[in-house]
């Protein structure tokens, strides 16, 4: 992988920022920006409606974007719904399923609020029980806890693939087996996995997989929800209207098949096309190369940080069990102070605070002020990691 060449594809890097907040949103390469501009400048039209060529071209590009994302995730085109973000995809599922009193939902205390609050609301709405599995401080689970919690009344199990706070990779396939043995559905929050390693949804064992397009080089306002083909009939779209029907008469309607059923109204056409360009770019670099390079950078960063006296890294110590999301704390400086100072001193962008995981920080980590979090992506360089370590030493 030629990092210098890759870095040249990201115009924003000319500004000299050391961007270590890709877990929040990734930078956008020129090819994605150009795909968005191309839509607006060359064939701006609504999709699936017009006979004229611009509309045909826009429809073709938008459909092809679904194909590209499907190929990227190992799914079929019809199974890939474009959303506005990962949160939307999870809410779509939570609102599409039917629950009754006595049902239960199993999730965990490791989750981002986006994969936690939609389930809590169902508890309040329908009186279903929400069981929450507690991870260790490193973000690991004991599968026995899932075996005990999931039963014949479990409607859905919703678990993150990678923790956005600790970087821990969760063995979701094993959890899916427990869920399916009990006839429960299984949803994976892939916001922090899809951008960083190769995903094959056919092999992952999930029924739903939601991720953010904007964390994997796509434009903001993009996300993806995979809905397994066998479930299309069982779940109702919670938004209905234009663009998602097969037929309508004065009293009735039938919905379209596949992703169209879940994309009511005019979608984010430019964003979707941009997302198609993003996954094409990722495929060209190859997710295997990205994973390998990020692991190397993660090891370098962790080794450098470990040499800083009194700095504490949270999450797994074993780089094979984590991604390049590296939370840390230093004595006598709050997470926000660290982030503020790194920005001022060396134009380094990191995240600080509770990372939308209040239950984890309060009930598991016992870190009420949260952590500082550096998160890597394949466009980061070893030199940037060196500057980050050096600056940390200087300001602590």
């Amino acid at each position: 992988m030629d990092i210098e060449k890759i870095r040249n594809d990201f115009k924003i890097l000319d500004k000299g920022v050391i961007y270590l907040d890709s877990a929040a949103t990734s930078l956008t390469p020129d090819c994605v920006v150009n795909a968005v501009i191309g839509y607006y400048n060359d064939y701006n039209a609504n999709i699936e409606r017009g006979v004229y060529s611009f509309s045909q071209e826009a429809s073709k590009e938008y459909e092809e974007a679904h194909q590209k994302v499907a190929h990227f995730l190992g799914a079929s085109e019809e199974e890939i719904v474009f959303t506005k973000n990962c949160t939307y995809g999870i809410n779509l599922v939570a609102n599409a399923l039917k629950f009754k009193k006595g049902d239960n939902i199993v999730t965990t205390l490791l989750e981002h609020h986006s994969n936690y609050l939609p389930w809590l609301r169902l508890r309040d709405r329908y009186g279903v029980e929400v069981k929450r599995i507690k991870p260790s401080k490193e973000g690991f689970f004991n599968l026995k806890d899932f075996k005990e919690a999931i039963d014949s009344n479990t409607k859905i199990v919703a678990v993150t693939h990678v923790s956005n706070c600790l970087g821990t990779i969760i063995p979701v396939f094993e959890i899916s087996e427990i869920a399916h043995k009990n006839n429960a559905l299984f949803l994976v929050d892939g916001a922090q996995s899809a951008p960083h390693f190769s995903i094959n949804l056919k092999e992952l064992g999930c029924d739903f997989f939601s991720c953010s397009g904007h964390k994997m080089l796509g434009p903001t306002g993009t996300g993806v929800l995979y809905i397994k083909k066998e479930l299309w009939d069982k779940i109702e779209p919670f938004e209905i209207g234009g663009g998602m029907i097969k037929s309508v008469d004065i009293d009735d309607f039938t919905t379209a098949d596949g992703w169209e059923k879940f994309e009511a109204g005019t979608p984010n056409i430019a964003g979707g096309i941009g997302l198609g360009a993003a996954v094409e770019y990722l495929n060209k670099i190859d997710m295997k190369n990205i994973e390998e390079y990020e692991r190397k950078l993660t090891i370098k960063m962790m080794e450098g940080m470990k040499k800083i006296k009194n700095l504490i890294i949270l999450g797994p110590d074993d780089p094979e069990k984590r991604t390049g999301v590296i939370p840390f704390k230093v004595p006598n400086m709050s997470p926000h102070e660290i982030a503020f100072v790194l920005d001022e001193v060396a134009n380094i962008a990191i995240r600080s605070g509770l990372h939308c995981c209040h239950p984890l920080h309060n009930s598991v980590l016992n870190e009420p002020d949260g952590t500082a979090r550096a998160s890597l992506y394949f466009y980061n360089s070893e030199e940037e990691v060196d500057i980050f370590i050096q600056t940390l030493k200087e300001v602590m």
């Binding site: 006598n332 400086m333 709050s334 926000h336 102070e337 503020f340 100072v341 920005d343 001022e344 001193v345 600080s352 605070g353 509770l354 990372h355 209040h358 309060n362 009420p368 002020d369 949260g370 300001v395």
Partner: protein
């Protein structure tokens, strides 16, 4: 929240933006929307009566008065943590003490 301050006779935008926090206290970042360079040495001298100077670096300074912690960056940025009550107005009130140490500061418009 966006306010305006007067500095050497000129009106300048001041943005007050809340940061991630847990709920009991607020954390805010206040930015002077103009190229400005603080004289941190001078500011620390003026503020040391009221605050403990926790860190003084050529590019930033961290000062504390329990439970409040204020980080000041040389390029016109101020971050205030543990603002109670958690309102931008309270953050601005605390920030006034810092703004008053800037030569030429004439107040909030």
């Amino acid at each position: 929240m966006v306010k305006r301050i007067k500095l050497n006779g000129e009106e300048i935008k001041l943005t007050i933006k809340d940061l991630c926090h847990k709920g009991d206290f607020g954390n805010y970042k206040i930015t002077i929307e103009k190229n400005i360079t603080f004289d941190l040495d001078l500011m620390s001298k003026k503020l040391q009566k009221e605050f403990k100077i926790d860190k003084l670096h050529k590019l930033f300074m961290i000062i504390k008065k329990t439970p409040i912690s204020i980080s000041i960056a040389r390029h016109g940025k101020i971050m205030i943590e543990k603002v109670d009550p958690d309102t931008p107005e309270k953050a601005l009130e605390i920030a006034k003490t810092i703004l008053e140490t800037i030569p030429g500061y004439e107040g909030i418009v």
